[in-house]
Amino acid sequence: MALYEELKTKFPEIVKEGFQEVDGEVVVCNREGFLDLITWLKQEKGFIHLIDLCGVDYLGYKPKTFEERFEVVYHVYNLDEKKLLRLKVRVPEEDPWQYSITSLWKEANWFERECFDMFGIVFKGHPDLRRVLMPEDWKGYPLRKDYPLFSEEEDWEPYKVLLEKYKRRG
């Protein structure tokens, strides 16, 4: 918990809470000012390896209730101290956005694109925020909990367009 204490004293407004999990420390941060915190972590504390960036949807999560629906989870790793840190930023449903960290890690580019693709979280400052896994004209965000697992089968829009085109040709 040493790192949490340090972060708490350095960024009292940004850090919300911190606790210890089985695999390392978890620090929950505010969205505002998050960039300062992660820049400091990368440049001063040696957390140079961004392992993962992902979104989580907590809609209807039974054990706990959160004010905000989404969470963006960062896993950063310090190679010198062999320390894993998990950063969490809660993102409300009404305006789902978060600051992009592509200026720090080019790697984050595609992670953020995927997060946008799957959860609809917009990353501010991202150079090229497109869908990455789903087709570009896909509707809905598949990994949200309210996205149906089964639904009426329906042809994909471009495919319908193609069918129309060839029907007209005969």
Binding site: K64, L79, D137
Partner: protein, 409 residues
């Protein structure tokens, strides 16, 4: 219909004849290793811009996993990087064991280490084969496949499957090794270093090979972290970061091995790193085999590991029958998993494979996030290819060692 990327034609004045040459490489192309599509902007044969487009093999594994129980997701993990599925199994199992606070028996740990190192050898052999074929050396391809076949046969003896094993289970492995398997593995371990020497004599000092790989796609150390390269690609750039050393899992803390690193961070260094890794993996297997005899007769599955069989099914769960699929039988929920989250990462043959699982206490994961090395490596292609030629692009795809099942999930 925005399927086709909008092409921004650079207008260099109305009288100009200059216009970039666009080439759409893939999704069907012999050397994109699957259904990767690369949208290239060329100047002659030099690449000005490269936009990798993926998603053609997207199966929604993360979404599927949220609707299956923990043991069932292991089966999905096979389909990630289908060349080294044993390693993926291990990653999933590790995350779930962390969540369940399960202690895995030592023999199971050793066996897991053996199968994941076999997966590494399989994967590296396939990498060497396709990398060499991409650059044009045809014979290496078939030699590598011959040896990979041997390992696949051993896998078949171990678990009955050649490619998608599902051998590693939460809390251990499915069943113990047979004595014949251990004998066969010993034979392999004895023979394999000679085979590696064979490949090396074929291409190691070949002038054309050196010309095609030296100083191609040079990645500096900072750049490698910036691009998120992991595994042999990162080690080729001179960082000795290996999850097996930094956060040892399974039996890696008790075996000895070296982590090879490169100096220049070019394609040749990455090639050398993987070749040394082949030898190291072979050595690890040998050590684990020696230790297996110490644990003769031990169980290979933790006692309190969750059911291997499908849980009992209850009929009344789905209120309305599904129009196409009929009445859905939902497995009975067992409240065995504690609430919380766990993160586990392994050194998969391609790089760092990590699994982040959030549990809500039910028998299914609330969220299962898989960070796959290929996904990150494909995103690095556009940075690495700038200024290189089409022929180098093929070499770069080879050196990154990507599998599209891994990246698209």
């Amino acid at each position: 219909m925005s399927l086709v990327l909008e092409v921004n034609k650079k207008q260099k004045g109305k009288d100009s004849w200059e216009e970039p040459f666009y080439l759409n490489m893939g999704p069907q192309h012999p050397s994109t290793h699957g259904v990767l599509r690369l949208f290239l902007e060329l100047e002659g044969e030099t690449i000005v811009n490269c936009d990798p487009i993926i998603g053609y093999l997207h199966r929604g594994i993360e979404k599927l996993a949220e609707n299956l129980n923990y043991n069932q997701t292991i089966v999905l993990s096979d389909r990630l990087d289908y060349i080294s599925s044993a390693a993926n199994n291990v990653a999933f199992a590790l995350a779930f064991e962390k969540l369940l606070r399960l202690e895995v028996p030592r023999r199971a740990k050793l066996i897991r280490t053996i199968v994941s190192e076999m997966a590494r050898i399989c994967s590296h052999l396939l990498w060497l084969a396709t990398h060499a074929l991409d650059i044009g050396a045809m014979t290496v391809f078939l030699y590598c496949f011959r040896d990979r076949e041997w390992l696949l046969n051993i896998y078949e003896r171990i678990c009955g499957a050649r490619l998608t094993h599902s051998y590693v289970r939460v809390g251990g492995v499915r069943r113990d090794f047979e004595p014949e398997v251990i004998e066969e593995l010993y034979r392999f371990v004895e023979e394999f270093p000679k085979r590696i020497t064979d490949y090396e004599t074929l291409i190691d000092t070949n002038r054309i090979w050196l010309k095609r790989t030296k100083n191609i796609a040079v990645v500096s150390t900072e750049e490698a972290f910036n691009l998120g390269l992991t595994g042999p690609c990162l080690r080729g750039s001179g960082v000795s970061y290996d999850v097996r050393k930094f956060r040892p899992y399974d039996a890696y803390s008790e075996v000895e091995f070296e982590v090879p690193i490169g100096q220049n961070g070019d394609t040749y260094d990455r090639y050398r790193v993987r070749m040394i890794e082949l030898r190291q993996s072979n050595w690890i297997i040998k050590q684990c085999l020696d230790r297996l005899s110490e644990t003769e007769g031990e169980a290979v599955l933790a006692e309190n590991s969750p059911d291997l069989l499908m849980p009992e099914k209850v009929r009344e769960v789905s209120a309305q029958p599904h129009p196409k699929l009929g009445v859905m039988f939902k497995p009975k929920e067992k409240e065995i998993v504690p609430v919380g989250e766990a993160f586990a990462s392994i050194e998969s043959p391609k790089g760092e494979l990590s699994v982040y699982v959030v549990s809500d206490g039910s028998s299914r994961p609330w969220r299962l996030r898989i960070r796959t090395p290929s996904f990150v490596h494909i995103s690095a292609i556009s940075h690495m290819t700038k200024g290189h030629m089409i022929a180098d692009l093929v070499a770069i795809i080879g050196t990154l060692d990507i599998v599209l099942g891994d990246s698209d999930r």
